[in-house]
């Protein structure tokens, strides 16, 4: 079960992520006009970035699948999107909480990043039902890859289009040099921690799925059991 380096990766994730949250709480200075509430920034923004990158990576892995037609690539693409979706739930909830603290409302349509994320999330929310709705596993893999590629390309386009529409009212424009050094550092550590978390969950999920596949193959060989197993998940079978 412990695939190569999974343990090391998990430990690194915990250390970096806990460290990031600790320095966010105790080291990073209070924001001038947001105060303590700005601390959600170190959770919400890295989550959003990692989740979106995960969707795009899912698309790139799907390209590999269509090229090679090896189902392992479909599994990788599926897992990347699956993890991104889970993190996406956290992005939306923390985003709503941040909106509540900053503007006193749970949702703000003028916030382009939040709105685009919702659109992307709604799109990917149909990924799993689509997989379930296709019986033949090979076709399912192909269609899922087409979906993942189109979705991966849609992510940056959607953000561009929505951002062009709305006025920028984001409380923190990071990367524009406005962010003081310590805040910037804290943000980068949080981002690294979140990326590590994604990597760990990704590896964990892949290892579990592969092991499960081998277990099933073993069972089939031992029991001479050709009956297809009832599907509980939309994950591809290897």
């Amino acid at each position: 079960m412990h695939g190569k380096g999974l343990r090391g990766l998990s430990v690194a994730t915990i250390v970096v992520l806990v460290g990031a949250f600790a320095i966010a709480a105790f080291y990073a200075p209070l924001d001038a006009d947001q105060g303590f509430r700005q601390k959600i920034f170190y959770l919400h923004v890295p989550l959003a970035i990692v989740s979106l990158v995960g969707f795009i990576v899912g698309g790139l892995l799907a390209v590999q699948h269509l090229r090679s037609r090896a189902s392992i690539w479909d599994l990788r693409s599926y897992v990347a999107i699956h993890i991104s979706l889970i993190l996406g739930v956290a992005v939306l909830v923390t985003g709503a909480i941040w909106a509540k603290t900053s503007w006193g409302v749970w949702w703000l349509w003028d916030e382009p990043t939040l709105v685009s994320f919702l659109i992307v999330f709604l799109l990917y929310a149909t990924y799993t039902p689509m997989r379930f709705a296709i019986e033949d596993p090979e076709r399912q893999a192909r269609y899922a890859s087409v979906f993942a590629i189109a979705g991966g390309a849609f992510v940056p386009i959607c953000f561009g289009a929505v951002r062009a529409q709305e006025q920028e009212v984001h409380p923190q424009t990071f990367g524009s040099g406005e962010l003081p050094g310590p805040m910037w550092l804290t943000f980068l550590v949080s981002l690294a921690g979140m990326a590590l978390l994604f990597a760990t969950l990704y590896r964990f999920e892949i290892e579990t799925k592969l092991t499960r596949g081998r277990l099933r193959a073993l069972r089939r060989r031992l029991l001479d059991d050709d009956a297809p197993v009832q599907r509980r998940s939309a994950a591809p079978t290897i």
Binding site: I119, P129, M130, A133, I134, Y143, V146, A153, V162, A164
Partner: protein, 223 residues
């Protein structure tokens, strides 16, 4: 081109014979205007509200077309028949998008005048060429996305549900662009001009998704 002509001809002939998509789309579109009238309790609309109603109506009526687009091929062996021919598969995508574009034009030929008659305050005359340009870009975007998503949805269980569910988020940039472009055109008391930025965004979106769809369409046809 010979292939595209053959496919388009088959597509339109089939639609003329069965009348499965266009009449339904038109009726649905006009009905939505009536529903909006009562839902909003407004006798007339203009500006951003008018732009929104028009775009949303075209979108929802178009969904009927999306759902029917590949059904005849799926149920009557049309995919296999096409795949056996020594032709480039991309043409099927182009033909489907083209056919849907035509259906949307047919829809708008009725629905837009009906909109002007039933709800729109300023009338259509004030910026007709601009209006047609925006509608063409809207149709192209819808047709491209629907031709791609329809091919995915038709081979799934619950296709009538999945098609719109996948297509709608993908269409939101098109909705934003078209609505922003239409707003000044439908303003009461003189139409404003077209915003070049939005025109570029909408055109670019159509282009990018058109090329992308062509690139990923082939794997959808294999069995």
């Amino acid at each position: 081109m010979r292939v595209l002509a053959a496919l388009l001809r088959k597509e339109l002939r089939l639609e003329l014979r069965t009348l499965e998509s266009v009449p339904g789309m038109i009726l649905f579109g006009v009905t939505i205007f009536v529903v909006f009238h009562f839902g909003l309790d407004r006798a007339s609309v203009e500006g951003d509200l008018a732009a929104g109603i028009l775009v949303v109506t075209i979108l929802f009526a178009g969904m009927l077309g999306l759902n029917r687009l590949y059904v005849a091929d799926e149920e009557q062996g049309g995919f296999d028949g096409f795949l056996l021919a020594p032709v480039d598969r991309t043409w099927l995508f182009v033909a489907k998008a083209g056919a849907l574009f035509a259906y949307l034009v047919a829809l708008e030929l009725v629905a837009v005048p009906a909109f002007a008659l039933l709800l729109l305050e300023p009338g259509l005359g004030q910026a007709l060429p601009e209006l047609l340009l925006v509608l063409a870009l809207l149709n192209a975007g819808f047709a491209i996305i629907a031709a791609l998503v329809g091919a995915i949805a038709v081979r799934t269980r619950a296709r009538d549900l999945l098609g719109p569910l996948i297509a709608l988020p993908l269409l939101i940039p098109v909705v934003i662009g078209a609505a922003r472009l239409l707003e000044p055109l439908l303003r009461e008391g003189g139409a404003g001009g077209l915003d070049a930025t939005w025109l570029a965004i909408l055109g670019l979106y159509d282009l990018v998704f058109g090329l992308l769809s062509i690139a990923v369409f082939d794997p959808l046809l294999e069995d």
